[in-house]
Symmetry: C2
Subunit: 106 residues, 2 copies
DNA sequence: TTTGTCTATCGTAATATTACGATAAAAGTT
DNA sequence: AACTTTTATCGTAATATTACGATAGACAAA
């Protein structure tokens, strides 16, 4: 089909998968690293940094926004993106807890 | 285009993204949790546990195998899947390091 | 108000993912 | 050898993702 049967899985499983999916593209990893290492958080600077078009970068930013990992604030005509610390910590805790739990198995 | 420009990003970024992508579906999260919590690691038992067809489960197992997070051993006509601890730890370290590094930003 | 800058969105095309039934392949059993 | 069980793969369809040019909308500056 192509339809993801999300409703068949529990909230936690969907949440872990959703955060992971958002991290599942090297451009989005690069965006997050850029936000972490630079003073700048301007969308335009991100576009210059990445080997992708402005439209594509905007799409990746939208995906990160969708899961809440970043948020954007308007600063004149520009937009300043920033990690949402609250959500970021939630993702970090969820993922690391999951990975520790699974590790216990064998 | 639809072509992922992986070659434009560095090895580490691709590796983090690739592990994340493999974790980016609730069925695969459920499979890993099942492997962690049950004594069984038989493919057939996983199929029974999940609300998905045998063919679909096999596809998800193949994706987890592709990135190396699990490995399968033949046990008669059955296949016993297991977390690959070495790769699992690598993924865990990569992801948690990444998330800690990015957190430092704002 | 006109102009320029910045970013989101639209339209579109290519590719990837998800899902399942059917079939094939591998191994043990009768 | 024929049969059963188990799992991978093939074929196919629906949907999602990735990418980009073009355009629209928002804002500041001239």
């Amino acid at each position: 089909m192509g339809l993801s049967k999300k409703e068949s899985f529990d909230t936690l499983q969907n949440r872990i998968a959703d955060f992971s999916k958002a991290l599942g593209h090297p451009a989005r990893i690069a965006i997050l690293q850029f936000l972490a290492n630079q003073n700048s958080c301007m969308c335009g600077d991100i576009v210059e940094e990445l080997p992708l078009s402005q439209a594509t970068v905007s799409q990746h930013l939208a995906e990160l926004k969708r899961v809440g990992l970043i948020k954007g604030e308007f600063d004149g005509p520009k937009v300043c993106y920033c990690i949402d610390k609250k959500v970021w910590n939630e993702a970090k805790d969820l993922l690391s807890q999951f990975m520790v739990d699974v590790k216990k198995c064998c």
